[in-house]
Point group: D2
Amino acid sequence: MTDLTGKIVLGSNQYGKAENRVVRIYRDSPRHEIHDINVSSALRGNFSPAHLVGDQSNVLPTDTQKQTAYAYAKTKGLLHLESYGLDLARHYVDDVEPVDGARIELEEYAWARAVIDGVEHDHTWTRKGEEIRTSAVTVEGKGDAQRTWVISGFKEMVILKSTGSEFHGFLEDDLTVLEPTTDRVMATSLTAQWRYTTTDVEWDAVYEGVKAAMIERFANLQSLALQQTLYAMGEAVLEKYPFIAEISMSAPNKHHFLYDLGRFDIENNLEVFNADDRPYGLIQATVEREDAPDAGSAWRTYSVVG
Amino acid sequence: MTDLTGKIVLGSNQYGKAENRVVRIYRDSPRHEIHDINVSSALRGNFSPAHLVGDQSNVLPTDTQKQTAYAYAKTKGLLHLESYGLDLARHYVDDVEPVDGARIELEEYAWARAVIDGVEHDHTWTRKGEEIRTSAVTVEGKGDAQRTWVISGFKEMVILKSTGSEFHGFLEDDLTVLEPTTDRVMATSLTAQWRYTTTDVEWDAVYEGVKAAMIERFANLQSLALQQTLYAMGEAVLEKYPFIAEISMSAPNKHHFLYDLGRFDIENNLEVFNADDRPYGLIQATVEREDAPDAGSAWRTYSVVG
Amino acid sequence: MTDLTGKIVLGSNQYGKAENRVVRIYRDSPRHEIHDINVSSALRGNFSPAHLVGDQSNVLPTDTQKQTAYAYAKTKGLLHLESYGLDLARHYVDDVEPVDGARIELEEYAWARAVIDGVEHDHTWTRKGEEIRTSAVTVEGKGDAQRTWVISGFKEMVILKSTGSEFHGFLEDDLTVLEPTTDRVMATSLTAQWRYTTTDVEWDAVYEGVKAAMIERFANLQSLALQQTLYAMGEAVLEKYPFIAEISMSAPNKHHFLYDLGRFDIENNLEVFNADDRPYGLIQATVEREDAPDAGSAWRTYSVVG
Amino acid sequence: MTDLTGKIVLGSNQYGKAENRVVRIYRDSPRHEIHDINVSSALRGNFSPAHLVGDQSNVLPTDTQKQTAYAYAKTKGLLHLESYGLDLARHYVDDVEPVDGARIELEEYAWARAVIDGVEHDHTWTRKGEEIRTSAVTVEGKGDAQRTWVISGFKEMVILKSTGSEFHGFLEDDLTVLEPTTDRVMATSLTAQWRYTTTDVEWDAVYEGVKAAMIERFANLQSLALQQTLYAMGEAVLEKYPFIAEISMSAPNKHHFLYDLGRFDIENNLEVFNADDRPYGLIQATVEREDAPDAGSAWRTYSVVG
């Protein structure tokens, strides 16, 4: 029997202000600094009255969360996604009574100083399109029971190698027509998120170090599958930084199909490709340490229901 | 001490073919039928050899998953997202030895028959832009141990009411400047997903029934907050269908700000609004039954790492 | 010799405020009405001082154009894109001394009343995704010399027929490998814009009439090429409305490729297709009357440089 | 009288294959080179039979244009957008009898070599997101009457200065509420296209030179208005390259609004901004030489109807 008769109740829930586009300029000297971010906050706690009877007395408005995001960019500063996210998350849990947990999700868009006649300009930048740096900070509980998780990462890091990638020896069934290959173009738009065991981190240096370790593995490992490449990239990060507990990666296989020029008697020795849009392979994997502390709410996201 | 020394190992992982754009035409009579979908498959199982040493012998290529999506649209048929998804998921778990679990995520784009001189055309349609129907089917385990979860839903259902919405009595702190209101425009682009307790469902009729119940509550309930409206919408669905265990909703508050015309001595009695893009409130809630069976892997998504 | 020595001068130029998202609610009775638009204005005139020496004395700020868009939605009303656009364009040319010409470009997003138990709701709507209605109004010159052009149109009207389309007998060269066909799926996302010879038009009725005439031709004409179909659609519009001077259409051929299931011994009798993204055929054509008045600045767009 | 009675005829028209995503790898040495482009072709000529009676005998299929784009990437090479575009355009006009004119529009996505331990990698790149390089090549006429136009450009170059920008002294009317300012953030996502008087150009060097000249002006000129900045940027390009006839620019004013923190007694000395989405100012201008040769079909675009 699949019909249910139990009481209907409120399940998990949260609310917040998404996609505040905060730009912070530091202008203490003629050489300005810029931080350009997108920040979303979500609050968790006992908001049953708001849901069940429309009583807002426990609800700090999402408009107030917007004001706070902008105000904290000045009063607390905005130097690193992670530290700014921690300031916001701790504020909501510590200072707003009905709030039991806060989740701050952040993106940063990088800018490069304009270089004019070989000299970096003091207050002009062009936006670097490369990968988008991300962070997700979660704080739960009051006082001594408070727990904190920090995730850093990036998305949309598009990387390609024009040789050094194979794919063969795979399982076949009646509908398998793919040809094995010992040389192909491999490309992906990589999303990665790693979880720290501590908040005492040199955020920017570690970010650059993680990225460098991953790119090195992608470039230099002879790939037998995107799965193998991803695992090696994650492994390199964990070997380099013992205070990273795990790293999760999502890698769409951006297919570059060798274009069939043979029917025109034109040789195509891995030179001309069609960069296809859809469908695409999608490989996802986590690499972790066996002694990693419990992830708790670290991966409980802001934007997904459930 | 936050440094870890444990062995580095593979964590959760999956792989598949995302965004196969399958269009199925039924042309058994002059009055054709069309189903236009986007389907993604992900396989789970023991793929450690692929990750650790690049051994693909357990890996059914994502290209084969593409072939299967198109082939099954003919051999099994594509009448409902849910039944087609079940066919695919069961195939991977039942027929491919290394596969322990399969997740199929689907979207359907609706078409309306062209109406010419009051008559519906047999083989011409225009695409309805409205909401996108979705489903997520998960099958785990072989033989008698097999478990199955079906989620149905929609996304991008944009709905607006021009009165019947209030927001006041909220918590205030030092950064709260929002004015309370007893009449406002309320609009959202709603995502909803509900979990069935059975696979013996009239998929299309229930889909329409869920949508109708939700729209009725949105329209007729005097809203004291988007939270209250969402809860009532979910409650209406569970009251109507005892074989739905829970429903999760994500509702961006698409702010329509009353435009300040008073500075020009022009009255604006809730008549002229700016439809703003960002930031936006984001309210998320699940409504469930206390006797709902365990969700198991039902909500373990395809596209998110973790 | 291709080096130039002439004086460097300012060429064509314009400036304005783009993408004002104005929502206008009519609430004179319990049965509200809604108009949801995106409006952009551009002003033309002698703005050389602003460009050459930074003198803004002739420049009405783009912020003022924003205020005007919202204010006019109340004071002049927003019932039809075309009449509201005319009000704005005439205002800039008539009332702002340095302005010689004004271009207003508009989009409208359609909403459908929520239907609850068979009854249309007074103040709740869901957004219809279908095509986006557009208009472009241009006014040039002061007083008796003033000229006015009105274009109406739509974009993103996605239309598909599952039979009744052929393509064969085409020109072939050494790189031609396409197979001719006498039955295929034909689909497009149609953009159309038609130019009126008058401003005395029942804007909404004609809009619906144009759309109906075009859909009828797409559906009922046996197509030998998308070119032929487009011409017939345009011809039908001009035959129906003698006060339309010309109609321009842009039609991406949204390819639905018959999926090759034959290699699996599965018959595919025009039943299973891959809806491909890129590349796509793109067919563009104008149908006009030989005695159409000069188009003047009617097609001089807002968003394109030149 | 605005009703027309003239004959209905075909107006301007063209057709082609849009958005071929061609990737060309040069692998003649271990240090590979990559070119990653999006190319669209459009053919013009006497295609009346295709439109009027569905006769395709003059119509080279868009599928053939796709094959040609990929084949030429090998046989002619793909080193510069402009030279590859010229090869394609000339081929269609010279070799396909019914074709009178060809328009090739191109985009290039830049990649940067991965740098590993300070050394550039031979065959691994990450995608630079910065601006997208563009070109538009038009060839018209057979034999001695043939004319050729080459435009180069870029789009989505996002550039910002955190000081050195003013805006005051503007025209005011009853709806003007903007406050004048002597210091603000100015940012834009610049599109620029310049027309050459010759095809004998060092395409890559000039591209870099144009960009450098424009960025220098943006950075170093004290701005009194975006109009003034644009004009100065265009002027710098024409002064540097006497074989450039004109340059057209389109610059959305990406507003960075100073966030009002004063109501919280927090000083905000041009430090915290909201990066708003819509609406936005849009400034467009062409800078040209008085002795520039006629632009002919240079600016007749591929994608716009008319």
